[in-house]
Amino acid sequence: MHPTDFTLRGAIDALNEGIISSVELTQAHLDAIGKLNPRLNAYITVTGEQALAQAKASDKRRAEGGAGPLEGVPLAIKDLFCTAGTRTTAGSKILGNFVPPYESTVSGNLLRDGAVFLGKANLDEFAMGSSNGTSAFGPVENPWSRRNDPDTRLVPGGSSGGSAAAVAARLALGATATDTGGSIRQPAAFCGIAGIKPTYGRCSRFGVVAFASSLDQAGPVARTVEDCAILLKSMSGFDPKDSTSADVPVPDFAAACARGVKGLRIGIPKEYRLDGMPAEISALWQQGMDWLRAQGAELVDISLPHTKHALPTYYVVAPAEASSNLARYDGVRYGLRQTAADSDLRDLYERTRAAGFGDEVKRRIMIGTYVLSAGYYDAYYLKAQKVRALIRRDFDEAWTKCDAILTPATPSAAFGMDEKQDDPVAMYLNDVFTVTANLAGLPGLAVPAGLSAEGLPLGLQVLGRAFDEETVFAVGTALEHAANFTALPGLRASA
């Protein structure tokens, strides 16, 4: 078996049993990156030397009996997490060659638990996008391709496209990702892997380049639900450096995976049956219901009446916060600075931001600035906040009837790299099933559940109560077992 084909759980066991060393495992992944990354572009920065040094130190710790829960496990880190001493780009030109002198809490937690970092994963610029097409470091290619059209290169989804592609192509055992409107779940679904956006506040945002503070949440992507559970446990925890981080205990998520779904009430929201939804998506959803019912869950029809307003609400709230969060990239203290001989301060701002930000980021800064402006604030931002409260209330109501909710993860399979790029609104529709969890702060898990007629992965989504990721993992594991998703992408290290 090729070392990159281990699941994360399998690798931990193999390391514990001495079947493989972290140096060997890490080297195998670096070799795979060397082979496939030039095509996939999943990594912006590969930290090979550092990874091998970390792996060596890890093997030494293990030999001395001090192995952590993720000891020696090679991971990819989305390039939105600040990593001390390693360039962090957020997928943008504006950060220039910014090297943070500090470590994000989440990546620091992973290092604490023994993980090895292979490099920084590509992403949509400032995590704004659903195709990874907005990255200033070039698009990422999905390792999957259509059965009858293998030459059309497909998107991995976004914004965590590099993380998802790397994990699917066996260029990492798992990866960190972030999700503001679906940026973990949509790329996970497009790449045939699992990914969870935990409850808002579960993972610290400290050291994660901010997109929309009230929606951003870090989470893992990995090839199995259990692998996600293992990673999430290490990533989670209260952080006094993030005022929105939740001071709640972190349960053993992996243990919850095996709980089963017997007796659980699974809500099926009628508003998620979209007009024009592809038949194969409807069929997959129905399949998911049948699998859960067969394992002893009870299906209940629920209503989330404000669902249709979720996407417009999201596209007011997220750009509003982003327009303010991105004001700090001004060329004054770090990152890119563009001036002419006679530049004054205003000119410095204009040149720097014009050159440093891509079109999608500029679009969202403008939308956000507009909706917060005097005279428009009430009609847009305030209204959106009210709708957001109603969306939350919809879920509160739903939780009186069910314990978890099952929906499709995305309205389609992965699309071509040339498709939808000129139509922002069509691109925004990718998030239609996922944004509600961000607006309500709830955990959402994407699980690979089947293939489209074109042979591309399709995912199901499980939503849960705030801080009840355990039930979400139990339901996700049940779906995973029933789906028995064994299909492999064409581009992978072991192929």
Binding site: C82, P100, Y102, D242
Partner: protein, 482 residues
């Protein structure tokens, strides 16, 4: 008798409201652990949060919140148990985040009031609209390089309290008295050092004028005035300017102005049309600030004595209202007075502090914080007066020696033998000697020239190097002259 200004079209009343920015006294900044010391090397007190680095997040400093609550209590104001931080968005080189975190819609402190004392002895109540917490920005230094500006972020993120008054003031004097009182309150509370020279306190002055009985006319805001005297001057200058505008048929437009202290006039800075759209919205990095009533009660119970209460206590001790006012104006003065007056005659202590000590401070260009004579020494001097070791005259001389040498009065009395002579035998002997030397004057005195008595007293005291007890010398002379 209210303050008015005379114009060519009649009498004008002025209306003033103040927005005071007071730097919170605290070890660290409002949302970061960086220190706040004044005068440190540029950019030496800056955390990654203050510098707006990627991924950095604000965390509220509990002590700054406590200081705001204490100040609110000192202003007799409503403490809001639920308040919220908003972002005020604008671009400037010394504003690293591209926004200032402030409390726009829901301040921590609501309405309150303070009473000010005017020079004619009357009092007036000034309403407080609100107090909110916000971050300070950094400092742009434009004079360090021919073509470049430098940025110092030491102040970036320092906690400020913005204290907004009602437009209740009607004269420069009232504006000055309000700011004086506000400064006094925060100094007593220890919530702001009130040091206007170092920029710990600065005022935006809102001024409008109107004819008697009118509603408010358009106001202008004079920004960043940094002394009480300048506030009073700015009010008058701006009011006069507005009267001229109205009287020449023009209209006052709402705008922000600056006070030119050298020329004593205000200058336009930007008009309302140029005003920023700050795009305020709730800061998503910070949950609403929720505090417990029990904590507020705790802070209230631990508040120090405030100026009004202290003044009342001093008058009850027998001080004149004027002395009580003067002694409580600055917290340090009151603290000095308390040491001097402890277990001593309060009126005498007050006389020495407001008289000799204040004169000495002026003369030696020192301050009450670093006084020319320590309070303990002045207290000791009063003891030497009380036990008659010193006469009043001797005490003044000893006081001067204390300023010169820094020594305690007891030491000076011993070293210089300045003890007052109470020995009636020694006094009688000196009286006899003086009268013997001045037989002609004694004859004149006995012949009716009674005013010569003062001459004899002077001669005896001179002969005794000023150390004779004046009462005993008088008594001995009367006896000897029969």
């Amino acid at each position: 008798m209210s303050y008015t200004l005379e114009g060519s079209t009649g009498t004008w009343e002025i209306v003033v409201g103040l927005e005071v920015h007071a730097q919170v006294t605290s070890q660290s900044k409002l949302f970061s652990g960086a220190a706040t010391a004044f005068g440190a090397e540029p950019n030496s007190q800056v955390s990654f949060v203050d510098a707006g680095f990627p991924g950095m997040l604000p965390v509220i400093n509990r002590e700054c919140v406590a200081q705001a609550v204490r100040t609110g209590l000192g202003l007799n104001a409503q403490v809001n148990l639920w308040s919220r931080f908003d972002r005020k968005n604008y671009f400037y080189a010394d504003l690293p985040q591209g926004y200032q975190i402030s409390q726009f819609a829901h301040p921590i402190i609501g309405t309150g009031e303070i009473e000010v004392t005017l020079s004619d002895g009357t009092t007036k109540t000034i309403g407080i609209t609100r107090l909110h917490l916000e971050q300070d920005a950094g400092k742009s230094l434009h004079d360090q390089h021919a073509t470049k500006s430098y940025i110092d972020l030491n102040r970036s993120g320092v906690a400020l309290m913005e204290i907004v008054s009602e437009p209740d003031m009607r004269s420069p004097e009232e504006a000055g008295a309000y700011l004086t009182k506000l400064r006094q309150i925060v100094q007593y509370l220890g919530t702001c050092d009130g040091n206007m020279d170092e920029g710990s306190m600065r005022a935006d002055v809102n001024v409008s004028v109107r004819k008697a009985g009118e509603g408010f006319r358009t106001r202008c805001e004079v920004k960043n005035v940094n002394s009480i005297r300048f506030v009073m001057q700015a009010v008058e200058a701006e009011a006069k300017r507005q009267i001229e505008v109205w009287e020449s048929g023009g209209e006052v437009h709402q705008e922000t102005r600056l006070f030119d202290t050298a020329r004593g006039i205000t200058r336009s800075m930007r008009s309302k049309e140029d005003a920023h759209d700050y795009r305020y919205f709730p800061d998503p990095d910070l949950p609403p600030l929720v505090i417990e009533q029990a904590w507020v009660d705790e802070l209230k119970a631990a508040l120090p004595e405030l100026p009004d209460a202290r003044r009342a206590r001093y008058t009850a001790m027998g001080l004149t209202p004027y002395d009580a006012h003067v002694l409580t104006l600055e917290k340090e003065t009151a603290a000095y007075f308390e040491v001097v007056a402890k277990a001593r005659d309060a009126k005498l202590a007050a006389n020495w502090v407001t008289g000799d000590l204040f004169a000495a401070i002026n003369r030696t260009k020192t301050s009450i914080a670093e006084p020319p004579v320590p309070a303990e020494h002045l207290g000791e001097l009063l003891d030497l007066l009380a036990d008659k070791t010193l006469s009043g005259t001797l005490a003044k001389a000893v006081f001067e020696a204390m300023i010169e040498t820094g020594k305690a009065p007891g030491v000076i009395v011993e070293e210089r033998g300045m003890r007052q002579v109470m020995d009636t035998g020694a006094i009688d002997a000196m009286v006899a000697e003086v009268l013997g030397k001045n037989a002609d004057k004694v004859a004149q005195y006995k012949g009716g020239a009674e005013k010569l008595f003062g001459f004899f007293v002077g001669q005896v005291m001179k002969a005794m190097q000023g150390k004779g007890n004046p009462a005993l010398v008088n008594e001995a002379l009367k006896k000897a002259l029969g």
